[in-house]
């Protein structure tokens, strides 16, 4: 695998691990980390999160990953799956001048 792809995958995996931990430890999802597929729906029938969980998730994004969600309503598209959350974190890091 090309080094740049390897680095990108590694960064995504690292963020995924943090998010999975948040779902299990903070949102009390009764699943093992390997059961939390990255493209599975977070809300509704998927992981079954609700609006209260969404608020907690916003708090955790800031405390665990340093991402401040400015407008919850507009960010709904980023709260679809673990992968869309990873995209959000990476975009915020890039905007802040961090890693791309």
């Amino acid at each position: 695998m090309r080094p740049d792809i390897e680095a990108r995958v590694a960064e995504r995996e690292e963020i995924l691990a943090v998010l999975r931990d948040v779902l299990i430890q903070r949102l009390h999802l009764r699943r093992e980390p390997d059961e939390l597929d990255p493209d599975a729906p977070l809300f509704g029938s998927g992981f079954g999160l609700d609006s209260l969980d969404a608020v907690e998730l916003v708090v955790c994004l800031e405390s665990e990953l340093g991402v401040r969600v400015a407008d919850g309503a507009l960010m709904r598209g980023s709260f679809r799956s673990l992968n869309t959350l990873v995209d959000l974190v990476l975009a915020e890091r890039a905007a802040a001048g961090g890693q791309p």
Binding site: I5, V9, D37, P38, S45, R76, G77, R80, N83, D87
Partner: protein, 344 residues
């Protein structure tokens, strides 16, 4: 109307579709709950009027049916995509063996319509009752003419209407008549499947090759480990041993199911199902890729066409933003909604 226009109706207004691809059965009797519990790969925590979204697996843990288990007082209604009515009844009968539970295939006596779109709720509220607006996702209710299930595969407000076969044409005509004011379109199975592809909603007709399990298909949320059900042993054995994952990929040029995928010149997987995305204006496919590269942003060659892995879903469904308490189809132009595609 073209398939693309049908999909855009699903994304922007509402569309009515025949539900011939959905099998329906009733499980009744004193042991109906136990019979369903035996076949369900997921804990059966549903009250009457609620639906559980799960799967049915074959003995090798390959998912063969996309299933809603619907608690209806002491009975269960089962909606399924994948098997036809007799095959569904057979799968359910395996769970009912030795119990006081009878399985009835409703295919001969009932028909199904599907209503999807960000304003599907508004159409249905006029066809039925405004109470439809309060129907939660994975809830259902009976009314005189039909049973209404809140479920769909497009990622929009979705409803499945089950009615007696002799009433099907009348109900369809009523929905179309009311729907005219909402620019309701008629959409076929191809449009539904294309919308489901955009939503990364598993398609049992096209995305269940031999050898895969819910682990590879990212469907683990629909199963509970530690339960006894058909395929449970094979599924447990695969855990930790899976080497591939189904992901969404996007490309500017045509993609075709069955195409081989490479990454950096190395074999990386196969396309299971592909199609043009009317909402995005590009092509999408579900690709079964080597686990090491099944991550958004990885660039691929898919049968000669450049493509890249993307996060699911591929569209920013308008239904996420349409609130029945504040919005209506009539005011859609004045309502500011985010674009249907998230910026990449």
């Amino acid at each position: 109307m073209s398939v693309a226009d049908q999909v855009m109706a699903i994304r922007r207004s509402a569309a009515l579709s025949p539900g011939d691809h959905i099998a329906c059965a009733r499980v009744s009797g004193a042991d109906a709950h136990e019979a369903i519990d035996r076949v369900s790969p997921r804990e059966l925590y549903v009250r009457s009027g609620q639906m559980l979204h799960t799967l049915l697996l074959d003995p090798d843990a390959r998912p063969v049916a996309d299933v809603y288990l619907c608690a209806d007082e002491d009975d269960f209604l089962v909606l399924a995509e994948g098997p036809d009515g007799p095959a569904l009844a057979e799968l359910l009968a395996a769970g009912a063996r030795g119990l006081d539970a009878a399985v009835t295939d409703l295919g001969a006596s009932h028909g199904v319509l599907c209503l999807n779109g960000p304003y599907a709720w508004e159409v249905l509220a006029e066809v039925s009752t405004p109470d439809v607006i309060g129907l939660p996702y994975l809830g259902f209710f009976h009314e005189e003419r039909f049973t209404c299930f809140r479920a769909g595969s497009a990622g929009e407000y979705g409803y499945v209407l089950l009615t007696a076969r002799e009433r099907l044409d009348e109900l369809r005509a009523t929905v179309l008549d009311v729907g005219a004011r909402f620019d309701l379109a008629e959409a076929g199975l191809e449009a539904l499947e294309r919308a489901a592809l955009e939503a990364f909603f598993w398609n049992p007709r096209r995305e269940s090759p031999a050898g895969v399990t819910p682990i590879e298909m990212q469907l683990q949320w629909r199963v509970s480990y530690g339960r006894a059900f058909t395929g449970a042993g094979a599924l447990a054995a695969r855990r930790g041993a899976a080497r591939s994952r189904a992901v969404l990929i996007a490309g500017e040029g045509p993609l075709a199911g069955g195409a081989e995928v490479t990454a950096g010149g190395e074999p990386a997987g196969t396309l299971l199902h592909a199609g043009a995305s009317p909402t995005r204006g590009d092509w999408l496919a579900v690709a079964l890729l080597d686990l090491s590269i099944a991550h958004p942003g990885v660039e691929l060659d898919a049968g000669g066409a450049p493509a890249r892995v993307i996060s699911a879903p591929a569209v920013n469904n308008r239904s996420l933003y349409v609130d029945p308490q504040r919005h209506s189809y009539a005011s859609r132009e004045a309502d500011a909604f985010p674009p249907l595609v998230r910026p990449s």
